[in-house]
């Protein structure tokens, strides 16, 4: 079964690297969105298996986007992993308290990203 992942990030280079990584290493189908609003729309129409969501975005940041996704019954059950370059413990605690499925950190290793996503979501890996 091919997984479908929605990447929401305002930075094009991050979207591209993460997308290449997940497609090439894991063979997953990748959907992209460049803002929280666009991500919410794509999540509702495309129903991805999981969402990789950037924390710092203009207009609507990652935590706000996550809360909006949770409010919508059509997207509330889609697991969300936050992607952040914030390394301070206070930020990490705040993100964890939101109830996301996981938190991954930038910079990520493109070879390992799919394994980190799988681990956060409890997805089985076939060797």
């Amino acid at each position: 079964m091919t997984r479908r992942i929605l990447i929401i990030d305002d930075e094009e280079d991050i979207r591209q690297v993460a997308g290449l990584s997940l497609e090439t290493v894991a063979g997953w189908e990748v959907l992209l969105a460049n803002s929280g609003l666009q991500g919410m729309e794509r999540a509702e129409t495309e129903q991805p298996d999981a969402i990789l969501l950037d924390v710092m975005m203009p207009a609507m940041d990652g935590p706000t986007t996550f809360l909006q996704l949770q409010k919508n019954p059509n997207t509330a059950k889609i697991p969300v992993i936050l992607l952040t370059a914030k390394v301070q413990g206070s930020d990490q605690r705040r993100f964890a308290e939101l109830g996301v499925a996981g938190i991954l950190f930038k910079p990520f290793d493109p070879l390992l990203l799919s394994a980190q996503v799988s681990q956060a979501l409890g997805w089985t890996q076939i060797h």
Partner: protein, 127 residues
Amino acid sequence: MADIRSPHAAPEEVTGKLHDLLATLWERSRQTISERVEVLRAAHRNLRTNPADKNARRAGADAAHKLAGILGTFGLPDGTNLARRVELLLESSAPLRPFDLEGLQQTIDQLQQMIEAKSKDAGKRRA
């Protein structure tokens, strides 16, 4: 069971393909990355004139945050560390001293050299 391949078991051709794709992506992202270094330089110039310039600190911290998030992903973990140092300095509420501004200048120079060195290396590999 999910069809999720482990990156630890990624065959060499997958790893090689990913590296090739990342090299191409680096070429495309280089201009954006250089522009972010230029934002840091502009922030530094403004802060030398007015160390209390909050807009310059904010703009510099944002650019440093983005650099910290992407450089390690492209194989420059030291670049991420330098950018993170700049981000923390500019995000702190402490007034900037001449010593800090001198250090900031040196860190920006190091970042630029690191990015140029990687680009030259990528150019040699293509040739």
